[in-house]
């Protein structure tokens, strides 16, 4: 619980953050809210030589109406999402899920970009992004690019974000009339989900799973079944297809596969 020695560098702009990454390379680690990185450092599972604190870059904290979508600065705190009228009106599942992350202290520190960039399969917000079909904008030495949520999560705690890139924005489609549900099953309110399900039904059906694989994933078999006209019971029975749930003290793979079916059914029922 005592981190190894590191240098601390606070930056006040995206450009300064990119410059710091260019200078320190993979010795550096960006820190936004710090709620994922600091525990890893305290356990000495992460030992960056330089921590680049981007948490105070005010230009990356915003929630804007960009016409076709909502543009959210990567350093927007969960609490801002939870209470945003724009998000509540145009993508209510995102506001709801932001309110399910950790506890109030976490939600006042943690950022949307930090949560997505960490890529934890047990986190709530990546599933919301997948279910909404959003995207992220990243900036690097060669400029800016936009990555679809479905292409972003590449491995356990790995994303398409390159080591010299900074996430700047998250884009969320406006779905004011979508039906949606988020089902989070855990033992204590503050915990990660043992299994979670985010469903957004808006013409097409998107269903994302929390803690059912190495990455945040979509329940492809469920989505396909719904597209083919399957009932909720039929579709939810396929919830665990193609997944590789982790095993830990909260449950083995079989239990998680069962929970996924139960929670997908509950999500689809609530959303319908």
């Amino acid at each position: 619980m005592i981190p190894a020695t590191f240098d601390y560098l606070e930056v006040d702009s995206a450009d300064a953050a990119l410059a710091a990454l260019a200078e320190h390379g993979d010795e550096a680690k960006l820190m936004a809210g710090g709620h994922s990185l600091i525990p890893l450092m305290k356990f000495r599972l992460a030992t960056p030589a330089v921590v680049v604190d981007i948490g105070r870059i005010s230009e990356l904290s915003y929630i804007d109406d960009s016409g076709g979508h909502i543009a959210i600065g990567a350093l927007t705190r969960h609490r801002a999402l939870e209470t945003s009228d724009l998000v509540k009106a145009q993508a209510p599942i995102l506001a709801h899920v932001a309110g399910q992350v950790g506890d109030p202290a976490v939600r006042h520190r943690g950022t949307l970009g930090g949560s997505l960039a960490h890529g934890d399969p047990a986190s709530d917000l990546p599933a919301a992004l997948l279910a909404l079909g959003g995207s992220v904008v990243v900036r690097g030495p060669s400029g800016e690019r936009e990555i679809a949520a479905s292409d972003f999560f590449t491995g356990f705690l790995e994303t398409a974000l390159a080591p010299d890139e900074l996430m700047t924005e998250v884009r969320i489609p406006k779905v004011p009339n979508a039906k949606w549900s988020y089902q989070k099953f855990n033992r204590r309110a503050q915990d990660w989900a043992i299994v979670g399900v985010a469903a957004v039904l808006n013409g097409e059906s998107r269903v994302a799973l929390v803690n059912m694989g190495a990455t945040p994933i979509q329940a492809g078999a469920v989505e396909a079944a719904l597209a083919a006209g399957a009932s909720i019971d039929e579709a939810s029975a396929k919830a665990a297809e193609g997944t590789s749930p982790p095993e830990d003290l909260n449950g083995d793979a079989e239990y998680r596969a069962h929970l996924a079916q139960v929670l997908v059914k509950r999500a689809l029922t609530e959303a319908s």
């Binding site: 619980m1 506890d103 204590r188 449950g251 239990y255």
Partner: protein
């Protein structure tokens, strides 16, 4: 006006809540060195080499000592103490602050680094290289009992002792031989990691010229620690001063004598510099003892009506790797309570203690009594099911004294219960819970085929507190007495100072004790200051554990107040030219009987005692008295808890949706503090039932040493509890008080698991191991469904 009995806010709180409380980790002195512990990464291994050279060469590192070097330095006069050798032949392997040639649990100290900073100490500790030759780990008490491998390689068995309490073996055999109904059940008391808000920490400050050493420690037991440090280090007790500053919770986990405390004192003494250490949260799973850790077998013998004829209990108790201060005695503290609140003609208890390669166990909130209460209260529900009566009915049929009020009643387990009155307490709980409505709702859900099952669980507990009567403790081979010491003195200006040998660590003792003093002396409770927890200020005391600080410590204070009034009466009579017997004392003033205008406030008497200008011939100046109180008996609080749970058959999730508790802790000094103790206690017991378990793999590694995975519940997980009380004064002390620090924990785990089993009864499920995790509940339901389908 009396203060006792009112809901007075805690005088401690403004300071604690605004951050003014000074905990060990807040106290710093120039030149202090931080200890960094090199801990064994293996549960059982021979230590074949320890290379400290890289660590010693690091900047800011003052010294690195291995366990062998520490021994060779002659720092230890004796091993770490076990004050409760429960039998003559108990095995007690030598236990020194750091291992020398064999490590016996993960986290045992192998070497200690001393560095200028906490971070430097942690960095250097990582650079110490330990070579291990792995030995087979004994990773559970069941494995220890099987005995193929031993936790200590020099032992041929893991058994530490067998202790028995079978007052009448023939009667017991006959009870079971003649029983109409019997129940036999096995329960697992999983290991728990005590989790006080403040971790443990130490700061030892030497004074090289004078040879004195002051130890600040986050401890419940500064007085015991002082004696034990002297005994284990050979340092003169008169040179030791122990201070427990603000201490953020203990729950028994801070009543030990720990390696870190001995290392800090001896290394500070050797180096002439202050030495400190604060445990990290995940270190605490190894550096602080754990609770529970028992396999229980309980058997009931009953007649056709379910009236108990005999209770037989056997425990296999997990000592962990070593005997700590009262490790072997913890199961014995529960032994007398396996007959619960019931009239049991014949009783037998045996306990085998076993060594494992796990963190040592010792006292944790309730210490033996939650385990006992769990076993008998779970078994009573099984008996009720067997003969087809309601849980409350089986209890009514078996209550001591027929459930009527009693005093000083001897039980089959050889104790004399001070007082009890069980039926009204049960009735109050059933009424507050609205039991009939709950049962109707349960039936409705079952008939409607709903998948969220309602369960209602009952626990009618009794506990032993006020750990005290010294002669009784001697009978148990406990290595100390049980008295408590108090001093009460008037200062010249009329304020009162109380010195207590009992040591608060968050309970609100200063408030409760001040209220007692206020009533006794007729003064404002805010005019009372309580001094404690510093052996230089309070040299005599036996500290805080076992819910003794009111029923022993508080009573000592009350008795010292009485002596102060007695002396004040002599002085007042002298000054008022009256006979002492002709004086009344009320509301803080002496008046002469029949002459109500002749009055003298006790503060004026106190000032007169200070000036000593006009005292009776031969009387010593000052108004100060002291008492060491050794009560004639323990106190036996009791109560009824009702837990209401909802079990989701689809997920296995258990939600505690309502909780009702009617506790009887005798006379209440401050009902607000009583409720606070009950709230916290209940949640700690519920936590054992639903969330907490120190989980170990087969190599003896703890799989959940951090609060990420060790699930301590928060306020979000528990409902708003409904509390009430009955009042049956204790006969063990003049205040009529019992204790309430542990009662909540003793009542709640059984109530919750009884509720879970009640919910699952349609599936034929009558037991579930703690903690009742969703995965575990779901598996049991799946198995039961499969069995039912198979039968169908």
């Amino acid at each position: 006006m009396t203060v006792v009995g009112t809901r007075k806010l805690r005088k401690e709180d403004p300071k604690l809540l605004t951050g003014e409380g000074k905990y060990v980790d807040d106290i710093h002195v120039p030149g202090e060195l931080w200890m960094g512990m090199v801990r064994s990464t293996m549960a059982h291994a021979r230590i074949t080499g320890v290379d400290t050279s890289a660590a010693a060469a690091m900047d800011g590192v003052h010294a690195v000592y291995t366990g062998t070097e520490l021994s060779e330095m002659g720092l230890w006069a004796a091993p770490l103490p076990c004050a409760w050798p429960v039998t003559e032949d108990m095995v007690n392997p030598p236990h020194y602050p750091a291992a020398t040639d064999e490590a016996h649990h993960v986290g045992e100290i192998i070497a200690v680094v001393l560095a200028d900073s906490r971070y430097g100490a942690a960095d250097a500790a990582e650079e110490v290289v330990v070579d291990y030759e792995p030995l087979k780990a004994v990773a559970s008490v069941a494995q220890a009992r099987d005995g193929a491998d031993t936790a200590h390689s020099e032992h041929s068995t893991n058994k530490a002792y067998t202790w028995a309490l079978i007052p009448d073996p023939e009667a017991l055999d006959s009870a079971f031989a003649n029983a109409v109904h019997t129940v036999e059940a096995d329960f697992v008391q999983q290991r728990l990691i005590p989790t006080a808000m403040e971790p443990r920490g130490v700061l030892a400050i030497p004074s090289p010229a004078g040879g004195e050493i002051t130890l600040y420690s986050a401890t419940q037991v500064p007085h015991i620690l002082k004696v034990m440090i002297a005994a284990t280090t050979g340092l003169p007790e008169s040179k030791l001063r122990i201070i427990a500053p603000a201490v953020g919770g203990g729950f028994g986990a801070k009543l030990n004598v720990n390696p870190d405390e001995l290392l800090a004192v001896t290394l500070a003494n050797k180096l002439g510099r202050a030495v400190r250490w604060t445990e990290t949260r995940s270190e605490a799973a190894f550096s602080t003892h754990q609770g529970r850790g028992q396999l229980q077998k309980i058997e009931l013998a009953a007649d056709s009506e379910g009236k108990l004829q005999g209770v037989r209990v056997h425990l296999d108790a997990d000592m962990g790797a070593y005997m700590m201060l009262i490790t072997p005695g913890v199961p014995l503290l529960g032994s007398f309570l396996y007959t619960g609140v019931y009239d049991v003609p014949a009783f037998g208890f045996t306990c085998d203690g076993y060594f494992t390669n796990l963190t040592p166990t010792d006292a944790y909130r309730g210490a033996g009594r939650p385990e006992a209460s769990y076993a008998i209260e779970r078994a009573m529900d099984l008996l009720a099911n067997k003969i087809g009566v309601a849980p409350e009915e089986i209890r009514r049929r078996n209550y001591l004294a027929g459930g009527r009020e009693f005093e000083n009643l001897e039980t089959a387990s050889t104790l004399v219960f001070d007082s009890g009155n069980y039926t009204p307490n049960l009735d109050a709980a059933l009424e507050m819970a609205d039991m009939n409505a709950l049962r109707a709702e349960q039936t409705r859900r079952r008939e409607a085929g709903e998948t969220k099952h309602l369960g209602i669980g009952l626990c009618t507990y009794v506990e032993i507190c006020g750990l005290a009567p010294s002669r009784a403790l001697a009978g148990l081979n406990y290595g100390a007495g049980g008295w408590e010491h108090a001093v009460v003195r008037f200062l010249p200006t009329g304020k009162v100072e109380v010195v207590s040998g009992s040591t608060p660590h968050g309970q609100g003792h200063e408030t409760s004790w001040s209220m007692i003093v206020a009533d006794k002396l007729g003064i404002d409770p805010d005019d009372v200051t309580v001094l404690h927890s510093d052996t230089a200020i309070s040299p005599l005391g036996l500290d805080t554990y076992g819910s003794r600080s009111l029923s022993v410590g508080g009573v000592a204070i009350a008795m010292a107040c009485d002596k102060v009034v007695d002396k004040a009466r002599e002085i007042a009579a002298h000054q008022m030219e009256a006979n002492p017997d002709d004086l009344d004392f009320a509301a803080g003033s002496f008046t002469v009987k029949g002459s109500p205008d002749k009055t003298l406030p006790i503060q004026a008497v106190a000032f007169g005692a200070f000036t000593a200008h006009n005292l009776p011939d031969g009387m010593e100046p000052n108004l100060q008295e002291q008492v060491s109180f050794d009560p004639p008996n323990f106190a036996f609080p009791f109560g009824t808890h009702v837990a209401v749970v909802e079990v989701d058959e689809d997920t296995g999730g258990v939600e505690l949706i309502d909780y009702i508790a009617i506790d009887d802790c005798g006379t209440q000094v401050n009902p607000l503090i009583v409720e606070g103790q009950v709230h916290g206690g209940i949640v700690q017991g519920v936590a054992q039932a639903l969330w907490e378990e120190a989980s170990y793999d087969s190599d003896g590694n703890c799989r959940n040493p951090s609060l990420l995975d060790y699930l301590v519940p928060s306020a979000m997980e528990v409902p708003f509890m409904k509390l009430g009380s009955t009042v049956t004064p204790s006969t063990s002390n003049p205040l009529g008080v019992k204790g309430v620090g542990e009662a909540g924990t003793i009542g709640s785990a059984a109530a919750v698991i009884n509720a879970v089993c009640d919910a699952l009864r349609p599936y034929g499920i009558d037991d579930i191991e703690m903690p009742a995790t969703p995965a575990r509940v779901w598996r049991m339901i799946q198995a039961a469904k499969a069995a039912q389908n198979g039968e169908g």
